[in-house]
């Protein structure tokens, strides 16, 4: 268990600067997620920490020891880390046991100790009874568990996980993310986790960093900080299904921006008591609201609601998904199916209804959060 720190790390491939002065710190025992779209350079960061790449500038330190600078880079085998890869990377020619025992054999641990350490690790990841299987005899989820056990067995200072759940199917993914979290709690390992899946990031992180497609870290914070108080529109839209409504501010009041949306009616966005009109830098901005926060009602109360038309209603199992038209703007709304049925809100397509935005977020025209 150790902390992990990157200070002003940069990396280029040819003329393409992938990372520019990246700095962050992962505390000891923390589960830290780096969330970003594919191709943003997040895997490069993980590979820099692992030692598969070396930085052009800056330094990487693990547990207070500098492991990589532009001049000198410790090879991966000397960093005492565990890595879990997206494609499992379990060795197909070794059994489960042999896979997990390998790092200990390399470390020249006595045979008996290896045996007990491996069997502990196998129990820990719920693979008991499968020790003598070859990877091809295991499911994807089981292979990923082998990879986890193999990375954990040496009790590494830091565990690096590179999109470990992407290749699993939806059900398994949802199950495994809880398991990884559970494992971290049991072992107290520091985890550095790289993913593009915001649901996983939210579910398992103690702290997360959101990176944009240019390789810039936009925001670092706990999941609810990042989710509830996004620093800008990018972070907001990356963390879930976004609804953006262009707004114009007229005399301290917000209206749907009719210039931005052709054919939009000039609808006042009423009853938004916490509307921060003073903090807006200009006359225009954006209102953002998650589908779950779009509150529907069959009856329209003009003083608290705007009028919307149901364009489409789709039942997705536990969730009902609505596509609404508010003065020419398409808005998504979602409700839990039970609630929708209980409140008689399975409104037929083509009908009108009232809409209220709960806990809206406000962004300036260029996407900065206004709080």
């Amino acid at each position: 268990m150790a902390d992990l720190q990157l200070s002003a790390v940069s990396k280029s491939y040819g003329t393409h600067r992938v990372l520019d002065k990246i700095t962050f710190k992962v505390n000891s025992g923390e589960c830290f997620t780096l969330l970003g779209p594919s191709g943003c350079g997040k895997t490069v960061i993980l590979r820099l920490i692992a030692g598969f790449e070396s930085p052009d500038e800056g330094e990487v330190s693990i547990g207070g020891h500098v492991v990589a600078t532009a001049k000198h880079s410790l090879p991966p085998e000397e960093r005492h880390i565990g890595v879990v890869f997206q494609d499992y990377a379990v060795w197909p020619h070794k059994t489960v046991y042999e896979n997990i025992a390998y790092p200990l054999e390399i470390a020249k641990m006595p045979h008996e100790q290896i045996k007990s350490a491996v069997s502990d690790a196998i129990d820990q990841v719920n693979l008991a009874g499968l020790a003598q299987r070859y990877p091809y005899q295991l499911s994807g989820g089981q292979q990923q568990r082998v990879a986890l056990a193999r990375a954990l067995v040496t009790k590494p200072d830091v565990m690096l996980l590179d999109e470990p759940l992407t290749n699993l199917d939806a059900n398994l993914r949802e199950e495994m993310r809880f398991e990884i979290k559970e494992l971290q709690r049991k072992t107290g390992t520091t985890i550095f986790y790289v993913t593009h899946d915001q649901e996983v990031a939210l579910a398992i992180s103690d702290k997360m960093a959101v990176m944009d497609d240019k390789g810039i870290i936009r925001q670092i914070g706990s999941p609810d900080e990042v989710y509830e108080r996004p620093i800008d529109a990018f972070v907001y839209q990356f963390l879930g299904i976004p609804n953006f409504i262009p707004v114009a501010i007229k005399s301290g009041q917000a209206f749907i921006d009719t210039d931005a949306v052709q054919g939009a009616a000039e609808l006042p966005l009423q009853a938004l008591a916490d509307f921060p009109s003073q903090r807006f830098p200009g006359p225009k901005g954006k209102l953002a609201c998650r589908p779950m926060d779009v509150i529907l009602s069959r009856s329209i109360h003009p003083e608290t609601m705007v009028k919307a038309k149901i364009v489409r209603l789709s039942l997705l199992g536990p969730i009902v998904d609505y596509l609404l038209d508010i003065g020419g703007i398409a808005i998504r709304a979602q409700m839990q199916t039970e609630a929708a049925m209980a409140q008689d809100l399975l409104i037929e397509e083509g009908q009108e209804c009232g809409v209220r935005f709960a806990e809206p977020k406000w962004f300036s025209e260029d996407g900065e959060a206004i709080r």
Partner: protein
């Protein structure tokens, strides 16, 4: 994965790999060009013009091209047809037939040519004699000693190149590509014409390219069937020039100029294929495996099966039996009656120094070359596929270069390089053939090893590094065990063709370093037809035995590989 500027293992491996390819491949090729274009340090355009305007050379080039074109056309047609028959129809015994269609691969084409000469030479050919006797003809109905004959025989033994490629791609092709045509309303005939054939066109072209390159530079069949009637292609012309003109350096120069023509022709063929394929690079392999549609042959089922079996019978069994029988004749020209048969020739093969030497030479040269080439190829492929080092494009280029280099050219380059010019003289030693084999088969090895290495995902090795293993430990414990099947199949891919090699060794052999191919050829040329046949029979036994053992072995490996990869 470099760790600073010191001379890391990565750099050592890279340098070593480049060194091997430069010495084995680049230097010989460069020397050929230098020798061809420069005389006494001066650009020798007049000399080139003289050789090229010589009607002999011109005719040889023309013949080479005609033979290559004809062989490619025939092999491609035959190969594609049989591939389609096996992969897309309800032909009975498909599995057996598929295996049978690969058998001509095992038969060295020059031995085939030898057999066909015995059967179809204009007057003495057994079949011709038979036909003449039956129909009372005064002239032989078939003359194998013609360009047409050469094309026919080469095609007989080269069509599996196309068959393998096309059959494989038909088998791996996503069946829904055809099903969607069917649901669009097209019948199977239309689908075959408009969808299936265009989609496997890249494979057809790939197979055709292999045939064209092979045939263009092929020595054995034209040497056996052509030279007697004055039909030379470039390899036989080079051979003739070098041996007929007293071996003066001038002959070698002529050889290099002809080689240059071969290289240019090969490059043009590659370019042509590239152009044809340009718009046709597509993925047709399915993720899901489903049974492809099968065309019902109905009434044609049995006739086509019979044709297929006859084809195998005629191309494989008939010549093989002929070779064995001729090898048992007391002397050539006798009829196949028991009183004319003897075991003597077969016994002599193991008594004569020349033939004993040849068998032994071929065995250890091919084993040794296969072994060394496999190891070097593994190392070079590792650099190409796995390592992030600057300068590996040189390796990529040099590694595939021999693929398009005809065997004759490699032989000449090797003579130029290893005859003392650089202080090492391997001439007349087995080492020169050894070096040539390495050069000739390096591309195979790199191809095969690269394929298996690229299936080993980088993360498998990185996982090992992260577990605390050093670079070497990771190689030893993870990478090598995983690519072992690929290495072994590379070994056999080299060993078997090298065992029966003729084109290269015929220019390189020394007094005691004849290979099996050279010995058979020399015996035939010297009029020792029965002994040539006897040696050929023994060679066939060795090859068939080798192939069978290897097939079994590879099948086992394949199973293991499937296990590992599933």
């Amino acid at each position: 994965m470099n760790t600073g500027n010191k001379l890391s293992t990565a750099n050592i491996v890279l340098l070593f790999s480049i060194l091997i390819l430069v010495v084995i491949v680049a230097v010989p090729v460069i020397l050929i060009f230098i020798t061809a274009f420069f005389e006494n340090g001066k650009f020798n355009i007049a000399g080139i013009a003289k050789i090229l305007s010589d009607p002999d050379t011109y005719q040889a080039l023309l013949n080479s091209l005609i033979i290559a074109a004809g062989t490619t056309l025939v092999s491609t047609t035959v190969g594609t047809f049989f591939a389609w028959l096996v992969a897309r129809t309800d032909l009975p015994l498909k599995k057996t037939m598929k295996a049978l269609f690969l058998v001509p691969f095992m038969l060295p084409s020059f031995i085939g040519a030898l057999a066909w000469k015995v059967l179809l030479s204009p007057r003495a050919g057994y079949i011709n004699k038979l036909l003449m006797a039956i129909f009372g003809l005064s002239k032989a109905p078939i003359d194998i000693l013609t360009i047409g004959g050469i094309i026919a025989i080469e095609s007989m033994y080269l069509f599996p190149f196309v068959f393998l490629q096309v059959e494989g791609s038909l088998e791996r092709m996503d069946p829904t590509l055809e099903e969607s045509a069917r649901i669009s309303g097209a019948n199977l005939f239309t689908i075959t014409r408009k969808i299936t054939l265009p989609l496997v066109m890249p494979s057809i072209l790939a197979g055709a390219l292999l045939v064209a390159l092979y045939s263009l530079a092929h020595f054995g069949v034209p040497a056996i069937l052509g030279t007697e009637k004055g039909i030379y292609n470039i390899p036989t012309k080079i051979y003739e020039r070098i041996y007929a003109s007293g071996g003066s350096f001038n002959a070698i120069r002529v050889g290099t100029i002809l080689s240059t023509i071969l290289v240019i022709s090969a490059a043009l063929i590659l370019k042509l294929q590239d152009m044809l394929l340009k718009k046709g690079q597509y993925q047709i392999i399915a993720g899901k495996s489903m049974r492809p549609m099968v065309m019902k042959l109905r009434g044609l089922k049995i006739p086509l099966l019979i044709i297929s079996i006859l084809y195998i019978g005629i191309t494989v069994i008939l010549p093989t039996v002929t070779i064995f029988l001729v090898g048992g004749l007391k002397t050539y020209g006798l009829s196949f009656e028991l009183k004319n048969m003897t075991w003597n020739n077969y016994l002599k093969i193991f008594q004569w120094k020349m033939t004993k030497d040849a068998i032994w030479n071929s065995l250890y040269l091919s084993l040794g070359a296969a072994f060394v080439t496999m190891l070097a190829g593994t190392m070079i492929s590792y650099v190409i596929v796995k390592m992030k080092v600057r300068g590996k494009f040189i390796l990529q280029f040099l590694g595939v270069l021999p693929f398009s280099l005809p065997g004759t050219v490699i032989a000449l380059g090797v003579i130029l390089t290893w005859s003392g010019r650089f202080g090492i003289n391997l001439y007349n030693t087995p080492w020169i053939i050894f070096v040539a084999y390495i050069a000739r088969y390096m591309a195979f090895s790199i191809k095969s090893n690269s394929a298996s290495l690229s299936q080993v995902s980088d993360s498998l090795e990185e996982a090992s590094r992260a577990c605390g293993a050093t670079h070497w430990q990771s190689l030893k414990n993870i990478v090598i065990p995983l690519i072992k099947p690929g290495m072994i199949s590379a070994f056999f891919l080299i060993f078997l063709p090298a065992l029966r090699e003729l084109t290269t060794s015929v220019l390189l052999y020394g007094p005691t370093t004849r290979t099996i191919g050279v010995a058979i050829y020399a015996l035939n040329e010297d009029g020792e037809t029965v002994r040539a046949a006897a040696l050929a029979s023994i060679a066939l036994v060795i090859i068939f035995a080798g192939e069978t053992i290897i097939r079994k072995f590879l099948a086992r490996l394949d199973q293991a590989k499937v296990k590992v990869q599933e």
